[in-house]
């Protein structure tokens, strides 16, 4: 059972890593002026909710399977994702707003955030991998 949880987490984590990389690539494209803000933001906004769901599922799964440490590790990031999604002002087009993204260094902070998430997911990836192997061995 435990191995199933971690296998799922591992897959989910892989997806999240890919998503983070995608975010970083798209944002750096915008930074380098390869795409315009409108298309960049619409591309990214599409993936905000999947990312949020994917990460929340893992977090909840960890809670259910009573892996407290991993759950607590995931909790802040999951909370941040949800908070960011909820706090989007009603007039904005999403978490990434094309009219705002070039202002007040938002692009940089988005970039930083994506980087941090990538690091976090990589960390989680190895943790899940280790836990999965451990669980498989224990089985």
């Amino acid at each position: 059972m435990e191995s199933v949880v971690f296998i799922f987490s591992l897959i989910d984590c892989c997806a999240l890593i890919f998503l983070s990389v995608y975010f970083i690539i798209t944002l750096s494209d915008l930074e380098c002026d390869y795409i315009n803000a409108r298309s960049c933001c619409s591309k990214l906004n599409k993936w905000v909710v999947p990312e949020l769901i994917g990460h929340t599922i893992v977090t909840v799964l960890m809670l259910i399977s009573l892996h407290w440490f991993i759950f607590l590790l995931n909790l802040p990031v999951a909370t941040w994702n949800i908070y960011r999604f909820i706090m989007v002002p009603s007039g904005n087009l999403g978490v990434f707003d094309p009219t705002e993204i070039h202002n007040r260094g938002q692009l940089k902070s988005h970039m930083k955030e994506a980087m941090i998430k990538l690091g976090f997911h990589l960390l989680c990836f190895f943790m899940y991998l280790y836990s999965m192997i451990l669980a498989l061995i224990n089985d």
Binding site: A37, H102, R104
Partner: protein, 1182 residues
């Protein structure tokens, strides 16, 4: 103020005519002990406080009550479109024929004369051909938007007059200490500083550069009398002139040599008209016209400095001297250059500063080999002269303050040290002691200069300064750029640019060239600040790449000479316009396309705006900028969307109604936008019919969203301009809004909610439009809350503009109706640029942090502007990413690429060059307080939307507190007990206080949400000049206008009353005051105002008979009426949107509108200026 008896602790606004009383009113500066002075000020303020509280009791705010709409009456049976009842069909054809039109006799059809700069410009330019630069031709044709400019030589100067005139006080600054404190011991450090300043006034200029930031508070008389020891008691132009003459005559002998060598170089202000035909016969003596009028004239240096050979240094650093050399030689020789107006040595050498100050806003004494007439001394001013100074109210300025300061702190070491350090550190050859002179704000009460505040001049060498961009188009908050971000952080001042790129220019070099020379790596356009390494190579001033000079560029079409690339107009002017080739087009240039989307719901019809809009359109139909391809279309909407088929060949316009607003579609895609010229008759028919067509409508709903979607669909193939007229909250279909305003919260001091949009519909639409090169301009004519915060998005992100007419009604509110009419006239006829993009480039190391304005930021430095109009201003915040150690100059370049209404692709390029400094003191010395305040206002708008209003207010106050405390801590030996600001920032607290009391940011005073949002929109999109008027209006006393100091515009004498500070203390019951708030003029008439003023100017026998609502001054044949009218029309001419005039009697209820602008007074919810200063001081001491 209706109870002036207790008010003035010192005589307020003693008019220019009466000269004696100053000395009586003010303690003679040299005799007062410090103790007396100390006591005097608190006492004065104490008095004010009493009065303020009285005033706040007396003038309770008038509650803003929404005019109830009358939606439910007037249901008329013969409502024309019975077709609404047919549900199945969604498209209907209704005839809008003459049968409906026969009652149309509204239009007398006499079109108003409209100056169309755009037309002229483009007309001229399109005629210019092939490779030649069309500069000379276009100048003559470009003439001026402000039609006054060309007619006469002197008078043609237009507005610049003021600057020239106002710049006069500059002079006095240097001289000032000598006269004010004649008995001052030279040994005292305070005195020394000034003495050293006053020396340059004699002509020793190569070391002490100039005093750029001297919007002086010193009375004008001083400067005339003082240097000359001359006995003139008036300061009229003629006297001034004669004084000058006399002076020059007296000194010609000794200074003849100097007069040939000292060339006073005015800043090149290419935007101002040059009076080509002013003849100066006596170079040494002439000042008569110059002194008052020739602000804009450009003086080029005489060829005295050209002795150095134009050698080719091959070092990698930009060669300053070479650059200078190049510029020098070119400016003297290229006679075809537009800005050339060579007259040498014009202002009598011995005292050059006077004239340079009088003739240009930026006096730049430029002497390379000037003999220093050290021996020349000023006759000291005798005490008697001080009595003779005209007692304008603003003349008390700093005298008492300084004086007391001086006496209080006789051992005052700071300044001297400071300036000596400065001298060592500053960039080239100058120190700017004036802008750094510490001003004690709490004691120095009259800090507002008598004349408008001018932009500080960057501390560059005179050649670069001369070439630099006009501050009207391009201004930086810090004219000395700090070298590192750390230094900038220390200074606590915002760094940013304020742009007005598409300003109506009277003079603009237009360059037609097959190759536009640009840097190959950063794509910077070649500009005056590049350096030519040799004949064939130039070095980019932004990225330092060395580029080749193309063959074509070697030929100079102006001089018809070969091999002088540095004399090309591109390198001679910092503002140029290129006609772009097809490389700059993504598609063929679009035609001018105008679509009008009109609200015809009951509310709108009741307000009666349709008549005005249609009439304005009819009058200006021929003046709409465009060519033979111009297209126009109309959409009206209530609960359905109505289209108008205007296809040529139809006998009458056809109305097509689409009632399916959930999925709106175009009934006939190709005949809704029609060629203006081909279908002109149909369009006229429609415009005549429209106002009456819906007169009996019962439809109260407004489907704005679907109408906009339809408009977008209609416009997307071409792009163009959508003008939306909306009169209420959209209530149907996509983008419907709900009322979010709680009237009880209007005067809340706590949270102001709903500053942001409620829906993203309008933003999305705007971005779609922007992508299709369509701009949406919003005219909101509403009496109730209409959620401007949401609606404004459609214009904000599509580079449109927003106009708001609160409680508009054609008959109940004639002032608004008049305003709409005038705004429309300007709106319809002003220049327009389509499918524009603007890129802002800056020297490597600087980067743009945030943009402010109406546009969409497409990439890091590229702004997408679907339309650009001459009234749009922009602001950007900058940050310093890498330290600027390897450069002494930074440059900013904006390039605006647009399609003119004639279908030409054009690029307008502005380049600004600023010095880099390493010391904090230099940063403060170069601070441009107006630009800083405008940038802060922009930032505060962002903050209040993204965070909260109180956050934004705190941030504004903190900006002052931080910068002043940082300044105080740099000058550590300043006494901590008082609030000291550098002279350059002395108006900072005042402006920030004004900002806090501005509609956008005020709390506690009842402010409707829409009014607030509109003020915020304006802050974001207005250019600096207009924004400053909005923030800090100008107050003039106009009941005793005299011709003293008057300027001449178009053979008209325009009096120049001194600026009054915005305090009820300045109002007297006997006077009449004009307040210029940018978009509105108030004339306040005191209760016991002189009957002769009321009779001669207002045309009424006495005060009682003046009506409550007076919006015009009658044309009376009296001198005072003429003066008042010429002054007001002169003020009016200086801005694009015609301000409305409102005469306010002292007891009329409208006077709260007037009194709310008196920002220095206390209101029930906000500090007075003095309290604000104390508050800041408290914060600093914390």
């Amino acid at each position: 103020m209706s109870a002036p008896a207790g008010i003035p602790p010192r005589p307020a606004a003693v008019p220019g005519g009466a000269r004696a009383p100053v000395a009586a009113a003010r303690p003679p500066p040299c005799q007062n002990g410090p103790v007396q002075n100390q006591m005097q000020f608190p006492f004065g303020y104490g008095l004010h406080l009493e009065n303020y509280s009285a005033s706040s009791r007396r003038y309770p705010p008038v509650p803003h009550e929404a005019v109830p709409s009358q939606l439910n009456n007037q249901y008329v049976a013969d409502y024309h479109s019975a077709c609404y009842s047919i549900p199945v069909q969604s498209v209907m054809t209704t005839s809008v024929g003459p049968s409906m039109l026969n009652t149309q006799q509204l239009y007398s059809g006499a079109p108003h004369p409209v100056e169309s700069a755009g037309g002229l410009t483009q007309g001229a330019i399109s005629s210019a051909s092939h490779l030649h630069t069309s500069v000379p031709q276009s100048y003559s044709a470009l003439s001026s938007h402000y039609s006054s400019s060309t007619s006469s030589s002197v008078a043609s100067q237009g507005f610049p007059l003021s600057s020239g005139h106002y710049a006069m006080p500059t002079v006095s600054r240097a001289v000032y200490p000598n006269l004010s404190y004649p008995s001052m011991s030279v040994g005292s450090p305070y005195g020394q500083v000034f003495t050293s300043q006053s020396l340059p006034a004699v002509g020793q200029f190569e070391e002490t550069n100039t005093f750029p930031d001297q919007s002086s508070t010193v009375p004008r008389t001083l400067q005339q009398q003082v240097p000359l020891g001359y006995n003139s008691t008036s300061w009229s132009t003629s006297d001034f002139q004669s004084a000058q003459d006399n002076f020059s005559r007296n000194n010609t002998g000794s200074l003849a040599k100097a007069s040939n060598q000292i060339n006073t170089v005015g800043i090149v202000d290419s935007s101002h008209p040059v009076s080509q035909n002013v003849q100066f016969t006596k170079p040494g003596v002439e000042t008569s016209v110059v002194s008052s009028a020739v602000t804009s004239s450009i003086r080029t240096p005489v060829g005295d400095h050209l002795t150095e050979p134009a050698s080719v240094p091959s070092n990698t650093q930009p060669s300053e001297s070479l650059l200078q050399e190049a510029i020098d030689s070119s400016s003297t020789t290229s006679s075809a250059s537009p800005v050339i107006n060579n007259y040498d040595a014009l202002e009598g050498g011995g005292y050059p500063e006077t004239n340079s100050a009088a003739s240009s806003p930026a006096p730049t004494p430029q002497t390379s080999r000037t003999p220093k007439p050290f021996g020349y001394g000023y006759p000291t001013l005798q005490p008697g002269y001080q009595n003779a100074t005209p007692s304008t109210s603003a003349m008390q300025p700093s005298n008492p303050g300084h004086h007391s300061e001086f006496q209080q702190y006789p051992q005052y070491p700071g300044v001297n040290q400071l300036s000596s350090t400065l001298g060592g550190l500053s960039l080239q050859h100058s120190q700017q002691p004036e802008s750094l002179r510490p001003v004690n704000l709490t004691q120095d009460r009259n800090i507002l200069p008598v004349s408008p505040v001018l932009a500080p001049v960057p501390n560059l060498n005179s050649d670069l300064r001369k070439l630099n961009c006009s501050p009207d188009s391009f201004r930086c908050t810090l004219t000395n750029i700090p070298q590192t971000q750390a230094l900038l952080n220390k200074a606590k001042l915002p760094l940013g640019l304020l742009l007005h790129p598409f300003r109506d220019l009277t003079q603009l070099p237009v360059i037609t060239s097959s190759t536009i020379v640009r840097c190959r790596s950063c794509r910077t356009y070649i500009n005056p600040f590049v350096s030519f390494i040799d004949q064939r190579r130039w070095k980019c001033n932004l990225c330092y790449r060395v580029n080749d000079v193309p063959e074509e560029f070697m030929y100079n079409p102006l001089t018809r000479s070969y091999g002088e690339p540095h004399k090309r107009p591109e390198v001679q002017n910092s503002t140029v316009e290129f006609i772009a080739s097809s490389d700059y087009m993504l598609r063929p240039p679009q035609p001018a396309v105008y679509l009008f989307v009109l609200d015809v719901s009951h509310n709108a019809v009741e307000a009666g705006y349709l008549t005005i809009v249609c009439q304005s359109l009819l009058e200006n139909l021929d003046k709409l900028p465009g060519d033979s391809r111009t297209r126009i279309g109309f959409i009206t909407f209530d609960s359905t969307v109505q289209f108008y088929n205007l296809q040529e060949g139809l006998s009458q316009p056809q109305m097509l109604i689409v009632s399916d607003i959930d999925d709106v579609f175009l009934p006939t895609p190709d005949s809704l936008l029609v060629n203006l010229h081909e279908s002109k008759e149909l369009i006229k028919d429609l415009l005549n019919a429209l106002p009456t067509m819906f007169i009996n409508t019962r439809e109260t709903h407004s489907a704005l969203g679907p109408a906009l979607q339809a408009a977008f669909k209609l416009m997307s193939p071409t792009g163009g301009r959508i003008s939306v007229f909306q009169s209420q909250l959209p209530s149907l279909g996509a983008g419907l809004l709900h009322s979010r305003e709680d009237p009880n919260q209007r005067s809340s001091t706590k949270v102001v909610q709903h500053l942001g949009p409620a829906t993203d519909f309008y933003k999305k639409l705007a971005l779609d439009c922007s992508g299709q090169q369509t701009a949406v301009d919003l005219f909101l004519l509403s009496s109730q809350y209409s959620d401007l915060a949401s609606l404004a998005c459609m214009s904000k992100y599509s580079a449109g503009c927003i106009y708001y007419y609160p409680s508009f009604h054609h008959s109940h509110n004639p002032a608004q109706a008049e305003k709409l009419q005038k705004d429309l006239k300007r709106y319809l006829t002003r220049k327009i640029g389509f499918e524009a993009v603007m890129r802002i480039r800056c020297t490597k190391g600087l980067s743009i942090h945030t943009f402010h304005g109406n546009f969409f930021v497409r990439s890091t430095d590229l702004l997408s502007l679907a339309n650009v109009n001459p009234d749009a201003g922009f602001a950007v915040q900058m940050s310093i990413e890498e330290s600027l150690t390897d450069t002494s100059l930074v440059c900013f370049q904006t390039a605006l690429l647009y399609t003119s209404s004639k279908g030409e692709r054009r690029i307008r390029v502005h380049t600004l060059c600023l010095p880099v400094v390493t010391s904090l003191a230099d940063v403060y010395a170069g601070a441009d307080v107006q630009a800083a305040v405008c940038l802060l206002a922009n930032m505060a708008v962002d903050r209040s939307v993204s965070s909260s209003l109180s956050d934004a207010r705190d941030a504004l106050v903190n900006a002052v507190v931080d910068s002043l405390s940082a300044y105080i801590s740099t000058a550590s030996n300043l006494q901590q007990s008082s609030l000291i600001a550098p002279n350059s920032l002395r108006l900072f607290p005042l402006y920030v206080l004004a900002l806090l009391k501005q509609k956008a940011f005020r709390t506690g005073t009842s402010t409707r949400l829409d009014d607030r949002i509109y003020a915020m929109c304006q802050i974001k999109s207005q250019p600096l000049v207009h924004l400053m008027k909005m923030i800090h209006p100008s107050l003039y006393r106009i009941d005793r206008l005299t011709n003293e100091g008057a300027i001449h515009v178009n053979d008209r004498v325009v009096p120049q009353p001194p600026l009054q500070k915005l305090s009820a203390e300045k109002l007297t019951r006997e006077g009449a005051f004009l307040m210029d708030c940018g978009s509105i003029f108030y004339i306040w008439i005191g209760k016991s105002c002189d009957n002769s003023f009321i009779k001669d100017v207002l045309g009424y026998p006495n005060y009682a008979s003046v009506p409550q609502k007076l919006t015009q001054l009658p044309e009376l044949d009296t001198l005072s009426s003429e003066r008042a009218r010429s002054f007001i029309s002169w003020l009016r001419d200086s801005r694009p949107l015609n301000p409305v005039l409102q005469v306010i009697k002292d007891e009329s209820p409208a006077k709260t509108d007037f009194f709310q602008h008196l920002v220095e007074d206390r209101t029930e919810a906000a500090f007075s200026y003095y309290e604000f200063l104390l508050h800041i001081q408290q914060q600093i001491c914390k």
